[in-house]
């Protein structure tokens, strides 16, 4: 198959323990059979709402969590269950940036130490002098100055802190960066800066991004391809243009129509899904989405969940009737495109 990152039928379940003896009474099926590849140099966007499993997915690909089932490959090598030294080595190649930049930084460390810590740990620099130079280089790359290095986290704004975490991430020269809601906690104007910085760094260092967000607009501007996740499974995956021009899965449609735009006083006709997102402990039978789907038929409710099929070249959908939503809801899309 290829791709720098390859994920095959990945599952991550968390046991639910109850009672005095901590018996396992069930599992939170956070990720339940996810497969995709990420090509070198591209940005794959993962979008979904709370409970969909996107955060767990990011942490599992990064191997902060150990998969329950399935496989993960990096550059052809399987990394699903590696531990110890091998895992430490892989850390240099796959890195992660978290949502809350302030909480990601130890309040007791100077920024210089924050950025340089991994360099020391992995013996990537010969001596203090080289460490200092490298740290200086990194902080400049993210748009900050030397004087910032001696300060502590309380001295910085959210946007600056996120730059610092990005500098820290770059220190080891990773090939893949998982970005877990990197701009969700930031103001709009700061978000724009960070997104631009990420784009610039991607070009300069030939980075591959796995960009996770709940914000469809943000995902749309930065991703090359987008995967829509619902309740632990990918329901649609294709390139950015096609997701917005010709979405197929009803959930994708609902997400798109929920997004407010920038037209004043414009209350768009919305596809409002009935009900709420079910718990991942007891996902619905058959197609996970069927209780909320206005088109659900018998086959959707019973039997197997629909397979993830390549309906058109490069366009994957998990639905028994992938063309239904398009037929019914085409007028909604026309509206969307006039933003």
């Amino acid at each position: 198959m290829g791709g720098l990152i390859q994920v095959e039928n990945l599952k991550k379940y968390f046991p639910v323990k109850k009672g005095f003896l901590k018996r396992i009474v069930g599992y939170v099926k956070a990720i339940d059979g996810v497969s995709f590849i990420v090509n070198k140099g591209e940005t794959l966007g993962l979008v979904g709402e709370s409970g969909c499993g996107k955060t767990t997915l990011g942490r599992t690909v990064d191997r902060l969590l150990v998969p329950t089932e399935g496989r993960i490959y990096f550059d052809g090598r399987e990394i699903t269950h590696i531990q110890g030294k091998k895992l430490k080595e892989t850390r240099k190649d796959i890195q992660i940036v978290f949502q809350n930049p302030k909480a990601s930084i130890d309040p007791r460390m100077t920024i210089a130490d924050v950025i340089g810590e991994s360099l020391k740990e992995h013996s990537l620099v010969k001596d203090e002098k080289e460490l200092k130079e490298r740290v200086l280089e990194l902080i400049r790359e993210v748009g900050l100055e030397e004087e910032h290095l001696s300060r502590f986290r309380h001295a910085f704004s959210g946007g600056q802190l996120q730059r610092i975490t990005i500098a820290r991430t770059l220190a080891m020269g990773p090939k893949v960066i998982v970005l877990d809601e990197p701009t969700s906690a930031l103001d709009v104007s700061v978000q724009a800066k960070i997104l631009k910085l990420l784009k610039k760094l991607q070009k300069e260092h030939n980075l591959t991004y796995l960009f996770i967000s709940h914000d469809l607009a943000v995902i749309s501007v930065i991703s090359d391809r987008i995967a829509v996740i619902y309740l632990g499974k990918i329901v649609e995956l294709t390139d950015t243009k096609r997701i917005f021009n010709s979405p197929m899965h009803p959930y994708t449609w609902a997400l798109l129509s929920s997004n407010p735009g920038l037209i004043p006083k414009h209350k768009p006709k919305r596809i409002i899904l009935k009900g709420e997102i079910p718990s991942p402990i007891n996902p619905p039978s058959g197609c996970r989405f069927h209780p909320r789907c206005p088109f659900a038929k018998d086959i959707c409710k019973k039997g197997e969940p629909p397979p993830f099929t390549e309906v058109k070249k490069g366009h994957f959908v998990r639905c028994y009737f992938p063309y239904l939503a398009q037929k019914e809801w085409a007028p909604f899309l026309k509206e969307k495109l006039t933003h």
Binding site: S50, Q160, V188, L195, K199, P260
Partner: protein, 323 residues
């Protein structure tokens, strides 16, 4: 001619902290008419939450209101006693906070939380309270309200919790509803439901809404008038259509261009150079001048006053003050 419900004038609020004086609000002023939705928009530190806290008189002990009036239904809230404010809070002015998780008391059932408001502000028999609570929950589109009133916050989803908060706010029959970032923590599909709900409620009850958010897309859809704040003061104040189609203040224009839109790419986003200033040491003159692409020498010396530049369109910017 619709009546003015809330009129804020020349509000100055500073915080006296360990590190120094934070000049949080400078000459803030705007008004809300009956039945109108005013969007208060700005980024972190602009003072929008402080403004809301000042209206509700829920400021931390380090805060000092140095100047200004907040006239609500003819009375200046800043001159009222603690008792008088308590009468108004929760009754005539109600606030819904950003995080429903921490705003609901985890050991009280939904019914008890709503009852608190009803019992404090109206004298109601227990049976009446229960009925009213159920009706309020119906109003906010919560299914099976008879069951929900007996539930605890942790048994409810995020969207449901947010609606319970609205129900609590409506319990007092308020004239003004202050929503402080109500949708920031919500999923986009839940947010869509929420926006629809608020529309419906506003139509039904004719309440005025002060909608505080940093999300311009929500403002576009829900607001009638918009106030844009930056670093503690009002930079632009006009109706929503004029703001989006014809923004006058450089900050507003840049802000609008920084919002990601479906169909555009990262390269299309505009950035505002620099960072939001530290309000311990705010810039001289116009607080936006260090970052403004159209800065002139007068901007560094004098703070531009908020002036009506076009019909019902106020801007605080020297570009429009040729005098």
């Amino acid at each position: 001619m619709t009546k003015i419900l809330l009129d804020i004038k020349d509000l100055i609020v500073y915080f006296y902290t360990e590190e120094g004086i934070v000049k949080a609000l400078e000459d803030v002023g705007f008004s809300i008419k009956k039945g109108e939705t005013l969007g208060l928009v700005g980024e972190t530190g602009c003072g929008k939450s402080t403004t809301a806290s000042t209206i509700m008189y829920l400021l931390p002990p380090t805060a000092r209101v140095l100047k200004g009036e907040i006239v609500f239904k003819g009375k200046d809230l800043l001159k009222l006693s603690e008792n008088e404010i308590n009468e108004i809070r929760g009754r005539e002015i109600a606030m819904v906070y950003q995080d429903p998780m921490t705003s609901l008391n985890p050991v009280l059932t939904v019914e008890d939380q709503i009852a608190e408001v009803l019992i404090y502000h109206f004298t109601m028999a227990k049976k009446e309270v229960k009925e009213r609570a159920i009706n309020l929950l119906k109003d906010v589109d919560i299914p099976a309200p008879e069951r929900v009133i007996r539930m605890y916050p942790h048994e409810l989803s995020g969207g449901m919790k947010q609606r319970v908060m609205i129900a609590m706010a409506l319990a007092g029959n308020p004239d003004l509803l202050i929503l402080d970032e109500p949708t920031t923590a919500l999923d986009v599909t839940v947010q869509a439901q929420f926006l629809n709900l608020i529309e419906k409620l506003q139509e039904k009850y004719g309440i005025s809404i002060l909608w505080i958010t940093h999300d311009l897309t929500v403002i576009a859809e829900m607001a009638d008038m918009v106030v844009v704040m930056y670093a503690g003061y009002v930079v632009e104040y006009t109706d929503v259509t004029s703001l989006f189609k014809n923004s006058l203040h450089p900050y507003t224009s840049l802000l609008l261009k920084a919002v990601p839109r479906i169909g555009t790419r990262v390269n299309d986003l505009e950035i505002i150079p620099g960072v939001v200033p530290n309000l311990l040491y705010p810039p001289s003159g116009c607080r936006f001048h260090p970052r403004c692409p159209s800065v002139k020498s007068i901007c560094k010396k004098q703070k531009p006053p908020l002036m009506e530049v076009e019909n019902n369109h106020f801007v605080a910017c020297h570009l429009y003050n040729e005098n």
